[in-house]
């Protein structure tokens, strides 16, 4: 059984392992732009990024885009031919230095084989892994072994209504949660953070599922007092959220 928290020193709400299990199943399957094996390789690269000395040095540099040694750094991780050096670099930057990612860098990647859609799916995997692994690290629990990938090809699905308005990548417009994407948000009630991954709708579904267990569901976000099923109230939640965001230098 995966995500079995019965040996945890702290009692863990059952909806949390259930959400983690669902993500592990999603991770192993082919996505829209990556195979199952590539998706699991992206997840593996997340774990290597947290130990990457080069990335720590690059994070301390004045500019991450003029810091030497990237080629050697990436060749150390590109060992199985599943991911290109640009894909590995994208994973490492999102994990270790996300605040200095620029549209120019995303565009340059797109000009050299890492399409914006593939980048979004990659980012969706990275951030989901981060949230699950960080939950374990926060509670000193061992990390769950990555799943065995499933065979199959990516489906190449891209919502027709996606367009490039703000940010580094195309997204659904506020009124674009229609058709196959009608479940992503209600009517025009959305926010840029919800739209951010929406050119890969399953990436949004994955983050909503995880957020519903680890933080709040979309409906729960309307509760500013004591959210149901939680031991901490909304102010306590937002103090934690705010300190993590501020420490990470996140303006949004």
């Amino acid at each position: 059984m995966i995500f079995d928290y019965r040996d945890s020193p702290y009692p863990i709400r059952p909806d949390i392992p259930a959400a983690h299990q669902r993500f592990w199943a999603r991770l192993a399957r082919p996505g829209s732009w990556w195979t199952g094996a590539e998706r699991v390789a992206i997840a593996s690269a997340v774990r290597s990024a947290t130990k990457c000395e080069y990335c720590q040095q690059r994070r301390a540099a004045l500019s991450p885009y003029t810091f030497d040694g990237a080629g050697q750094h990436l060749s150390e991780y590109a060992t199985d031919d599943l991911l290109s050096p640009r894909a590995i670099d994208a994973v490492h930057r999102i994990v270790t230095d996300q605040g200095r990612i620029t549209r120019r860098w995303v565009d340059d990647n797109a000009d050299h084989g890492l399409s914006r859609e593939a980048y979004v799916e990659l980012a969706g995997i990275v951030v989901a892994l981060v949230s699950i692994d960080e939950f374990h690290r926060a509670l000193a629990l061992p990390l769950e072994p990555l799943p065995e990938p499933m065979a199959g090809a990516p489906d190449g699905y891209r919502p027709a209504q996606a367009r490039h308005d703000v940010g580094h990548v195309p997204m659904l417009p506020a009124d674009g949660a229609t058709g196959n994407e009608a479940d992503l948000w209600q009517g025009n009630r959305t926010a840029n953070v919800l739209r951010a991954l929406s050119v890969v709708p399953d990436a949004v579904r994955a983050w909503l599922d995880l957020a519903g267990a680890q933080y709040l569901s979309i409906d729960g976000m309307g509760e500013f007092g004591q959210p149901g099923g939680r031991a901490i109230n909304r102010m306590q939640m937002e103090l934690v959220a705010g300190r993590v965001s501020s420490y990470n230098e996140c303006f949004y």
Partner: protein, 122 residues
């Protein structure tokens, strides 16, 4: 969201807790000091600090609070990466309440502020 939840519950808080001031974090928020230090320790990736902060929060608030705080902290380790990796701007930069909070916390010092402060190419 912290300001909104404080206003709606008519609670006096000090937003400086978000920037790491322990006394401010404790103002109006139960276990605020320990929650803030735990969140900071998760984000810092300093395992010694994290162990100490985890033990302190568990001791004073109990395991259910610790687990929920871990969930929220881990969730926002993700959210900041979504926002910055996708380069999304703040949804409504003209909102006066948001402007006051950003000014109070001096958030424009962050590199990712450019995603909201710079007119982006389309």
């Amino acid at each position: 969201m912290l300001r909104a939840s404080a206003d709606l519950t008519e609670t006096t808080i000090d937003l400086a807790g978000v920037n790491g001031n322990p006394d401010a974090a404790a103002t109006g928020v139960t276990y605020g000091r320990e929650l803030m230090l735990f969140a900071e320790a998760v984000a810092s990736r300093n395992e010694d600090r994290l162990r100490d902060a985890r033990e302190a929060l568990n001791r004073i608030a109990g395991p259910a609070v610790l687990v929920d705080a871990a969930g929220v902290a881990a969730n926002f380790q993700r959210m900041v990466r979504i926002a910055d990796a996708m380069g999304i701007p703040v949804d409504n930069m003209a909102d006066e309440s948001g402007q006051r909070i950003r000014q109070e916390l001096n958030l424009e010092r962050f590199p990712s502020a450019r995603n909201s402060l710079t007119k982006q190419p389309v």
